[in-house]
C-alpha cells in the first residue's frame, strides 16, 4: 500500500453507467489537478453484461493499479465474482452498495472490508430524471477528496448538449452523493485536493497515444483490420489522419493490411498498421517481404492473452516470441516496446523514425493494459523525431536500389523519380535489384540488412534506467510501472535497487545492458508471460553476469502484476 493514492473499483451490470461514472471521476480528478489511471474490465458480452472500472488517483503520476482497493462501489452484484480476483480488498477497504441490491456475495465480504449499504435507488426516485451512477459519482468524488466544483465542471462538459433538464438531474444526483458520503468516515481515504493544476495535462489512452505518436512521426498511410484490443488506434487514426492529409484503409484482412502498407510505403508514404497477436501471426510472411525488399513499415501490436483467440479483452506480454522470432529466414528487423501509456506515443514516434531511417520492418509492442487504459499525464514532449527516409534525386543515373553501402542503408527511389525505376523484390536480389540465387548476392544482401541495424547508434532510448544498487530489476512493457513502483518503495525502505526497462528489444543492445550489469549479484526479471519469454530472450541475447543469481517473477495474464508482490520479492531477497 502506498500513501497519497486512492484506488476505487466500480462494478455493475451493463447500462448501470459504470464506465460513465468512472470516466467522469477520472476527468474530475484531472480538473482538480491530479493524475490518474482508469482501466476497464468487462465480461465477454459485446454489449451489456457486467462491467468494472478500476481507478487510481494521486497528486503524483500513476503508472499502474495499486495492490488493493480503498473502495469498491457496486451498483449491483451481477456476476461480480468474475471480477473478484481483480479487486483485492482488505479490512481497511470499504464496500459501498445499494441497499436494494441484496446481500453482498461472500467472495467480496470475506476480505473483512467494511460494508456500507446505502439507499441509492430510493434516493434517485426523488430526483426527476436522475440516475444512480451520478449519485455514485458524487459519493466517490467526496470519498476521494475531489471537490464538487471539479465534478460539476465535468458534468457541464459532458451533458451540455443534452439540455438543461438532464444537466440539472445529473448535478442533483452528484450533490445527493456528496451528502450521502458524509455518513461514511472518509478521512483515511481522501487525498488532499489543494495545490494541483490541470495545466499541461492530457487525458489519453495508450491506443490513442500510439495513434498520435504515429502521426507525430510522419505516418500518412494506414491500412488495418479491426481487432481487439488494437481497434481504438485505428478509430482514432481514421478521422485524424484525414485531417493531416493522410488516409486509412479498412482492409479485408491482416494479410491485405500489411501488404497495403508495404505498397503505401513503396509509394513514399510512411505507413503503419495496428493489430494484436492473431493478426500479427497472419502478417509475418509479408513482414519478411518488408525486410527483404527494404520497404519500411511499422506494426503496432497490442498484446492480449494468447495463443489463438485466447483472452482478447485482457492483457498479457506473450507475443514477445513471435515479434522477435516469428519471421522465416534470417530477417533482421526492429522490435520496440512501450512501457507506459505516455510512452505508447513516444515509442511509436521513435519507431516510425527508426523504420524510415533504416528502411526496416519494425514492430511496436504495446498491450491491452496500456492500450485500453486511460491516464492523466503530463503532455508528452515532442522528441521531434520524424520520418527521414534517404532517397535519390530526380534524374538519378545508373541507379542500384540495393547498392552496398557502409551503413547498409541504400538510398531509395520513390515512384515519380526519373531514373530511379526499380523493382522491389522478395526474391533475393543483386544490388541492382535483379532476382538472384547466387551465394554471393545472398551473403552480401544478408550482411547489408543485418549491418544497417547492428551499426546504427540507437542512442539513450534503448532502455529506461532508474536508481542504483546491486539488486537489478529487468523488465519491459507494461510490467515496468509495477516494477518501478516496487523499486521506489524498496528504496524508501533502504533497499537499494536499480530498474532497467528495455525499450529496444531487437537489435539487442548487448554491450549496453552488459555494461549496466557489471558486478551485479542479484537480477530479478519481471514479465507477464507463462513460459518466461522475456527471461529466455535475455538469456539468448545477453551475457548476464555469471556469478549473479537470477530470479524470475512471471505470471500470465489476465491479472496485473502488482507493485506490492514485487516489493515482497525484493524484500525477501535482501
Amino acid at each position: 500500500m502506498s500513501s497519497n493514492t486512492v484506488s476505487i473499483a466500480i462494478t455493475g451490470a451493463g447500462g448501470a453507467g459504470v464506465m460513465t461514472a468512472g470516466q467522469s471521476l477520472l476527468d474530475a480528478a484531472a480538473k482538480a489537478g491530479w493524475y490518474g489511471l482508469m482501466t476497464r474490465s468487462s465480461g465477454p458480452q459485446i454489449r451489456g453484461g457486467e462491467a468494472a472500472a478500476f481507478l487510481r488517483l494521486s497528486p503524483r503520476p500513476v503508472g499502474c493499479p495499486d495492490d488493493r482497493y480503498d473502495v469498491l462501489f457496486a451498483f449491483d452484484w451481477m456476476n461480480v465474482e468474475r471480477f473478484s480476483a481483480e479487486i483485492p480488498l482488505d479490512e481497511k477497504s470499504v464496500i459501498i452498495c445499494d441497499a436494494a441490491a441484496g446481500d453482498a456475495p461472500e467472495v467480496m465480504t470475506k476480505s473483512g472490508a467494511r460494508l456500507v449499504s446505502l439507499p441509492l435507488k430510493d434516493t434517485v426516485k426523488s430526483i426527476p430524471g436522475g440516475r444512480v451512477n451520478m449519485i455514485g459519482l458524487g459519493i466517490l468524488a467526496a470519498l476521494s477528496g475531489v471537490p464538487m466544483k471539479a465534478v460539476d465542471a465535468v458534468v457541464d462538459d459532458a451533458l451540455a448538449r443534452k439540455g438543461k433538464e438532464a444537466l440539472a438531474a445529473s448535478k442533483a444526483g452528484v450533490q445527493a452523493g456528496f451528502e450521502m458520503a458524509k455518513a461514511i468516515n472518509v478521512d483515511e481515504i481522501a487525498l488532499d485536493a489543494s495545490g494541483g493544476s490541470e495545466k499541461g495535462r492530457w487525458s489519453i489512452s495508450g491506443n490513442e497515444a500510439a495513434g498520435c505518436g504515429a502521426i507525430r512521426g510522419g505516418v500518412r498511410f494506414v491500412a488495418a483490420y479491426p481487432i481487439t484490443p488494437a481497434t481504438e488506434i485505428l478509430e482514432w487514426l481514421a478521422p485524424n489522419l484525414e485531417k493531416v492529409g493522410g488516409t486509412l484503409v479498412q482492409a479485408e484482412d491482416e494479410l491485405a493490411s500489411v501488404n497495403m502498407i508495404i505498397g503505401g510505403s513503396f509509394g513514399g508514404k510512411p505507413s503503419l498498421t495496428a493489430t494484436s497477436g492473431p493478426g500479427l501471426a497472419l502478417m509475418t510472411e509479408a513482414i519478411g517481404l518488408s525486410v527483404a525488399s527494404e520497404t519500411p513499415i511499422v506494426i503496432v501490436n497490442v498484446m492480449r492473452g494468447g495463443p489463438s483467440t485466447g483472452i482478447p479483452t485482457k492483457s498479457e506480454q506473450s507475443d514477445l516470441n513471435i515479434a522477435l522470432n516469428g519471421l522465416h529466414g534470417d530477417a533482421p528487423h526492429i522490435v520496440t516496446a512501450a512501457n507506459s501509456i505516455a510512452d505508447c506515443l513516444s515509442t511509436t514516434q521513435w519507431t516510425v523514425h527508426l523504420s524510415e531511417k533504416l528502411q526496416a520492418a519494425a514492430i511496436v509492442l504495446s498491450d491491452q493494459s496500456l492500450g485500453q487504459s486511460r491516464a492523466i499525464i503530463d503532455k508528452p514532449v515532442d522528441s521531434g523525431l520524424v520520418a527521414e527516409r534517404e532517397v535519390v534525386a530526380d534524374g538519378v543515373k545508373d541507379y542500384n536500389r540495393y547498392a552496398v553501402t557502409p551503413s547498409g542503408v541504400s538510398p531509395m527511389a520513390i515512384p515519380g523519380t526519373r531514373g530511379g525505376e526499380y523493382v522491389a523484390d522478395g526474391l533475393e536480389h543483386s544490388p541492382l535489384g535483379r532476382p538472384s540465387s547466387a551465394a554471393g548476392d545472398h551473403t552480401i544482401q544478408l550482411d547489408k540488412r543485418e549491418r544497417k541495424l547492428t551499426q546504427f547508434d540507437f542512442g539513450d532510448r534503448w532502455a529506461d534506467v532508474d536508481g542504483d544498487g546491486d539488486l537489478v530489476v529487468i523488465t519491459w512493457g507494461s510490467s515496468t510501472a509495477p516494477a518501478a513502483e516496487a523499486c521506489e518503495r524498496a528504496r524508501a525502505e533502504g533497499i537499494s535497487t536499480r530498474m532497467i526497462s528495455l525499450r529496444l528489444l531487437t537489435p539487442a543492445q548487448a554491450s549496453r545492458l552488459e555494461g549496466l550489469l557489471k558486478g551485479v549479484k542479484k537480477i530479478l526479471i519481471v514479465e507477464q508471460s507463462h513460459s518466461k519469454q522475456f527471461y529466455r530472450y535475455l538469456r539468448a541475447e545477453y551475457d548476464l553476469p555469471h556469478d549473479a543469481e537470477v530470479r524470475v517473477f512471471k505470471r500470465p495474464g489476465p491479472l496485473p502484476i502488482r507493485p506490492g508482490e514485487l516489493l515482497s520479492e525484493i524484500r525477501s531477497w535482501s
Binding site: R220, G245, S257, I261, G263, G264, E285, K379, V423
Partner: protein, 277 residues
C-alpha cells in the same frame, strides 16, 4: 491520357534488358509485349507507372519492364497495389499475375479489390495450371484434368469464374483476351488503364509445358460478336452462356471509385488539443 510527342517512348523501351525465365512458347511473352505496347500507346511516363505482382510464372513480369515495380508475396499483389494507388493516386498502377496467385491464394483480395473499385488494372494470365511448381491444378482448371500428380483423379471441383465473380463483386471494367492476339490484348489493357476503377483483363495465356493441349486455344478463342454493356444484368446473362473463350470487353461500368482525398486541413497540434484536460 494523351501521349505527348516530347515524352513518346517506344514500346520496347518499356521492357528491361533482363531475360524472362519463361519456357519457349509461353503465352506470357506475348502478354508482356501487350503490356508495354499499352504503356506506349498511352505514353505513360515510366516513373509514374508501377507494375505490381505476387508469385508465379507470370508474376515475374515487373522485372521485365522498365517502370517501377514490386514483386511481392504470393497472392497479395492486389493488396499491395491498392496501398500504392491510395497513397499515390497520381500513379498508374497495374497488377499482374496468374490464375493461382489471383484466384486461389489471392481470391479474397480479388473479391475485395473489385468491390473497393480503386483505379487499378489487373491483368491475369490464365493458363489453368500452376507452372512454377511444375503442373498442379489451379482454380480455373477443369474438374476432370488428371495430369497432375497432386490430383490424379482430377480435382472434381467446379472451376472459378473470374469474370462472373469480378462482375458480382463490383469491378468497373471486365474483359478477356487471348495471348495469341497481342495487339488485341494491348488494346484491352490500354482501355482498362483508362477506364476508372478496378479493371480486370483476363488473358488466356497457354502453358505449353504443362498444358500442351492449350496450343489449340488459337482455334477455339473467338472475338465476341456482342458489344460491351454497362448493364450488370445484361453482362451477367451473357456470362451464363459463356464458354470461357469469347474475347473482348464484357462490361464497362460507372460504379463509384475508391479514392480518399489527401487534402490536409489541420496540423498535428490541432489534433492534440483534443487530449487537453
Amino acid at each position: 491520357m494523351e501521349a505527348s510527342a516530347a515524352r513518346a517512348i517506344p514500346a520496347k523501351d518499356y521492357k528491361s534488358d533482363y531475360k524472362p525465365v519463361w519456357c519457349p512458347g509461353c503465352g506470357d511473352f506475348s502478354v508482356l509485349s501487350s503490356i508495354t505496347k499499352a504503356f506506349a500507346e498511352l505514353g505513360l511516363p515510366r516513373e509514374e507507372t508501377a507494375v505490381i505482382s505476387g508469385i508465379g510464372c507470370s508474376s515475374r513480369i515487373p522485372a521485365y519492364t522498365s517502370v517501377y515495380g514490386f514483386h511481392g508475396v504470393h497472392g497479395r499483389a492486389l493488396a499491395l497495389a491498392t496501398g500504392l494507388k491510395v497513397a499515390r493516386p497520381e500513379l498508374t498502377v497495374v497488377a499482374t499475375g496468374g490464375d493461382g496467385d489471383g484466384f486461389s491464394i489471392g481470391g479474397n483480395h480479388f473479391l475485395h479489390a473489385a468491390r473497393r473499385n480503386a483505379d487499378i488494372t489487373y491483368v491475369v494470365m490464365d493458363n489453368q495450371v500452376y507452372g512454377m511448381t511444375k503442373g498442379q491444378a489451379s482454380p480455373t482448371t477443369s474438374p476432370d484434368w488428371e495430369k497432375s500428380k497432386l490430383t490424379p483423379h482430377g480435382t472434381g471441383v467446379s472451376p472459378f469464374q473470374p469474370l462472373a465473380i469480378a462482375l458480382a463483386s463490383g469491378a468497373n471494367y471486365i474483359a478477356r483476351g487471348f495471348s495469341g492476339d497481342p495487339n488485341g490484348v494491348a488494346r484491352l489493357i490500354a482501355e482498362a488503364i483508362q477506364h476508372p476503377g478496378f479493371s480486370l483483363v483476363q488473358v488466356l495465356s497457354p502453358c505449353v509445358t504443362f498444358r500442351p493441349e492449350q496450343r489449340d486455344w488459337k482455334e477455339i478463342t473467338r472475338e465476341a460478336t456482342v458489344p460491351y454493356t454497362d448493364d450488370t444484368g445484361r453482362a451477367a446473362r451473357r456470362l451464363m452462356t459463356d464458354d470461357g473463350f469469347n474475347t473482348g470487353v464484357l462490361f464497362k461500368g460507372n460504379r463509384p471509385i475508391y479514392q480518399p482525398s489527401l487534402e490536409q486541413s489541420s496540423t498535428t497540434e490541432d489534433l492534440e488539443r483534443a487530449f487537453q484536460v
